[in-house]
């Protein structure tokens, strides 16, 4: 788990958000009543809330969101005993109908919010070299590749990226026999030997998509 942010880090994060708040490409979306609760955890326009550990979702493609909501619902994700944060999301998806999942995915794709600021240390130039393998699936700007089932990574919070990579590493995510894309991603983790490698690649991804 990433440590708590120091006061200075917080100030930097928050100042960063303020600086970019006005320059968004899309108009704010007003969610339908049944989807307001997504914003209670993920924040206004799904901008992410580090206290709740709910990541920024704006910028994710609808196909990926739909797939993940089903993954939560079907118990591929957010049920592993070590995945305590995933367990916070799992019941939220479990309660949705297929129709609501479609609407939720559209909602996510329609939102925009400031790009998250860096909160973690890590060496982006070391990370760039490591990212070469990742780019085969996730794209050189971490923009994602639907044909390969690989999501965009640019625009996700760095703390969230790190947590996911740790989960793929430990098997808390991507272990379910039916979760083929999750298993592919787990296999790709072999490139990242240790925590430092994870921090570095995350630091590099955080520079993309701005």
């Amino acid at each position: 788990m990433p440590g708590k942010l120091t006061r200075l880090q917080w100030m930097l994060v928050l100042v960063g958000v303020l600086g970019t708040a006005s320059a968004l490409a899309k108009d704010p979306v007003v969610p339908s009543d049944e989807l307001v609760f997504c914003t209670v955890c993920h924040g206004v326009q799904l901008m992410g809330n580090p206290i709740i550990r709910a990541p920024r979702l704006s910028g994710l493609s609808s196909w990926y969101v739909e797939k993940q909501l089903h993954a939560f619902q079907d118990g591929w994700r957010g049920v592993h005993e070590a995945d305590l944060v995933g367990m916070e999301m799992q019941p939220m998806a479990a309660a949705l109908t297929d129709e609501q999942i479609k609407l939720a995915a559209q909602f996510v794709a329609a939102t925009d919010s400031p790009m998250p600021e860096r909160t973690l240390a890590g060496d982006p130039s070391a990370g760039q070299a490591l990212y070469a393998t990742c780019s085969a699936c996730h794209g050189n700007q971490a923009q994602g590749n639907e044909a390969l089932g690989s999501p965009a990574l640019a625009g996700l919070n760095d703390w969230y990226l790190r947590e996911q990579l740790e989960k793929f590493m430990s098997g808390a995510r991507g272990s379910h026999p039916a979760d083929t894309t999750g298993q592919q991603m787990r296999a790709a983790m072999q490139v990242l030997g240790d925590e430092t490698a994870i921090d570095d690649v995350v630091a590099y991804i955080a520079t993309l998509g701005h």
């Binding site: 006061r7 917080w10 100030m11 928050l14 100042v15 307001v36 609760f37 914003t39 209670v40 924040g43």
Partner: protein, 526 residues
């Protein structure tokens, strides 16, 4: 010199023994200081109609208090509330109510009957919470006594006393008895560093023997304070045999709960609102001219030099309100995910606050079986994860009753949150069966309220660390830019108590009033 101690001498002795807190408490007891909790006379400046505009964010106790007080002196107040109901954490659940848990909405299936209610949030009010008392009195909200610590109720420990419930009275009497016996013997053997005079020794031994109800030889052999095994009315009372000393020592209740009523917030007698805690909320709503705007989640807060703009969603549209002042009770943990331009250190403070958490289960029982065991209100305590069974103080001798079937705190709550509502009720039923015979067979309906998963809430108050408190508390009490006040029990030393919410509102109002008066003076408007 006078043989009697002066008050000052007494205080310095107390100080040497117990530090500043003891001096403070003793001073209060002697009437030398006024209680910090006494409601300040607000004496707010009246303003002409159509004067300054006020926006209140969140319609919990703190928001309602600010709205009520400012409306009374002429301000134009709007209250923006994200959820579909007024009251925030002040929640009483009755027949047909929806429990807005994210992921697991529940509908309450209690009987449609005035006594069948469950205080899912606040349930007890101690008399020294002067602000709560002030508003209950002035808004005509009737109170009644609520039993909390109860001697006929049980303490239960799966690992001790063969897993059988033990009456609180017996546990307490025996704990004192054993302790007193030790004390008695220590005195007898003169085991003190300081020499005791023969008089002192005799007095202390007498104290120990009275405290623990000891035998003339200083041994403890049980006490009628622990309750009768039989008799006592038409035949001689037979006292219960004392618990086994080692079992008592190994058991956990002396640590978990035996001393809970020593805490002033839980000290008997406590009060509750007749008919349900939310009658406080209803009283405010009755008094308010403005209608709370429900289903209105705040999206953006912009501080300007002369006021505050707030954007919120309502009926499928984004709407903007401009006001001269804003009073914000939104839980701090949501603020980092609501765009705003509050000063960076202010935002950093909000982000550093850590939310607390509570979990409760309410069960409608078809029979008030606990009354057959001589229990009328109060709480049984267990080392099982439900912690507490709390019997209703209202509706005595009625047919049915709603009791509290689980009450978990902070880190304990996740265990329940991760279950679905049916699993939670089953778990609570199984725990109850270990304490009361046929407990589960009496359950007719149940609700579980995990505050960490409740919509627009996700927790209860703030657990301030000393460090964060020192760095940010005073800052957050001040209005950002002189225009935006943070309020709520989160901005108090009594988080998770309504008194904290009232106190925060009062603090903000008094500060606001000083500023308004100073401005008026500056502008020469008297």
């Amino acid at each position: 010199m006078n043989k009697n101690l002066t008050r000052r001498q007494l205080l310095s002795m107390v100080g040497a023994a117990g530090g500043a807190t003891a001096v403070y408490n003793t001073s209060l007891a002697l009437g030398l200081m006024s209680d910090a909790g006494a409601p300040a006379r607000l004496d707010l400046q009246h303003v002409p109609k159509g004067g300054a505009r006020i926006i209140v964010l969140g319609a919990g106790i703190a928001g309602l208090t600010v709205a009520y007080e400012l409306e009374r002196v002429g301000y134009d107040v709007q209250i923006i509330e994200a959820s579909k109901r007024v009251g925030g954490r002040n929640l009483t659940v009755r027949h047909g109510d929806v429990i807005d848990e994210m992921g697991h909405q529940q509908v309450c299936r209690f009987d449609d009957h005035p006594e069948m209610y469950f205080n899912a949030g606040p349930a007890r009010i101690p008399g020294h919470h002067r602000r709560v008392m002030h508003y209950c009195k002035s808004l005509n909200v009737p109170l009644q006594v609520k039993a909390n610590f109860s001697r006929p109720a049980y303490t239960h420990d799966t690992e001790n006393f063969a897993g059988k419930p033990v009456r609180v009275q017996q546990y307490v009497a025996d704990a004192r008895g054993f302790l007193s016996e030790l004390l008695y013997k220590a005195i007898d053997q003169n085991r003190f560093d300081e020499p005791l005079s023969a008089d002192d020794r005799e007095r202390l031994m007498h104290f120990a023997s009275t405290f623990g109800d000891l035998q003339p030889d200083g041994s403890y052999k049980g006490s009628l304070r622990g309750g009768y095994d039989e008799g006592g009315f038409l035949s001689p009372a037979v006292q219960r045999a004392p618990l086994e000393f080692r079992a008592l020592l190994n058991s956990s209740w002396w640590e978990r709960g035996m001393l809970s009523a020593e805490n002033p917030d839980w000290a008997a007698p406590l009060m509750e609102v007749v008919g349900g805690m939310d009658n406080i909320v209803k009283a405010f709503v009755r008094e308010l001219k403005t209608r709370v705007i429900l289903n209105a989640q705040v999206q953006d807060i912009r501080l300007k030099s002369d006021g505050v703009d707030v954007v919120y969603n309502h009926n499928g549209k984004r709407r903007k309100l401009s006001a001269d002042y804003c009073f914000n009770s939104i839980p701090s943990h949501f603020m980092p995910a609501i765009p705003n331009n509050l000063p960076p250190d202010y935002q950093a403070g909000l982000a550093a606050m850590v939310p607390g958490n509570f979990f409760k289960i309410g069960l409608q029982m078809k029979k008030r079986f606990w009354e057959d065991e001589g229990i009328y209100g109060g709480a049984t305590s267990t080392n099982q994860k439900i912690n507490t069974i709390w019997y209703p103080s209202h509706g005595i001798h009625g047919e049915k009753g709603v009791l509290l079937g689980a009450y978990a705190f902070f880190g304990q709550c996740k265990f329940f949150e991760r279950m679905n509502p049916a699993e939670r009720l089953q778990f609570a039923a199984d725990c109850g069966d270990k304490i009361h015979k046929n407990y589960s067979s009496y359950i007719e309906a149940g609700v579980s309220v995990p505050w960490g998963r409740m919509n627009h809430m996700m927790g209860c108050g703030t657990t301030w660390s000393e460090e964060v408190r020192n760095e940010y508390f005073a800052l957050l009490q001040q209005p950002a830019g002189g225009r935006h006040y943070m309020i709520g029990d989160q901005i108090s030393y009594h988080s998770s108590w309504q008194e904290g919410a009232f106190a925060s509102a009062e603090y903000a109002l008094l500060d606001f009033n000083r500023r308004v008066r100073a401005d008026a003076t500056r502008q020469g408007v008297r």
